[in-house]
């Protein structure tokens, strides 16, 4: 999947969809789409938030977003709040 070929309209389909890391762990739900990144949050009260580059997206099938990175890498590199 080449994200750069997608338009903003296409990316909006991802909002509210679940996100999974390459090791199968759930990362969260897509909150919003930025030009280069996807904002993902996880948790009900004080959610962790992740700024995940679109280049890290592996696939989007059956309403689920799959990432190239493991949950450990995502937690270390992309968590910002």
């Amino acid at each position: 999947m080449d994200p750069n070929e997608k338009t903003i309209d296409d990316w909006q389909v991802l909002v509210n969809k679940p996100v999974f890391a390459s090791d199968g762990k759930e990362v969260g739900i897509v909150m919003s789409i930025q030009p280069d990144n996807v904002i993902v949050s996880y948790g009900p009260v004080t959610p962790d938030k992740y700024l995940i580059p679109k280049s890290s997206i592996k696939d989007f099938t059956d309403g689920i977003l799959y990432l190239n990175d493991t949950s450990e890498i995502i937690d270390k590199n992309y968590k910002f709040e």
């Binding site: 903003i8 919003s32 930025q34 030009p35 280069d36 990144n37 904002i39 700024l51 270390k76 590199n77 992309y78 968590k79 910002f80 709040e81």
Partner: protein, 139 residues
Amino acid sequence: MPDSSDKNTIGSSDSTLQSASAVLKSNYKQFVQQAANLFPKVDQKLLMNILQFEVAYDDWEGSVLLKVVYPAESVNMDAKKNFIYNRFQRVPTVEADKTLRFKGIRIYVEVLEKILNEDPDIQYITGSATLAPSDAYST
């Protein structure tokens, strides 16, 4: 019994209403798209809130809880804390090793634009704007 001219008026009024809705939605979509293009690194919800407060309330103090996100690697967060302090006279806290969080006043859209231009390392700006001026100095 209403004459046919009345029906025509009602009919044209309905079509005018639909057309107005369509125009409004189309313009709004364009506006949102333009905002995303002009401020790609800013949380669009925050941007819209600041815009709304600025335009609707002339005396709004620009009270905003700002979270400035930097890339995890290759950024000296102490230098970034100094940058924020020099700019806003507020000492930010660091969250998740890459986010500076502080509450400031006089943070308007122009200010967001300036700090984005001054510091290209900024990856993303989020936070929340509030109308309450008394909240401006709390942490």
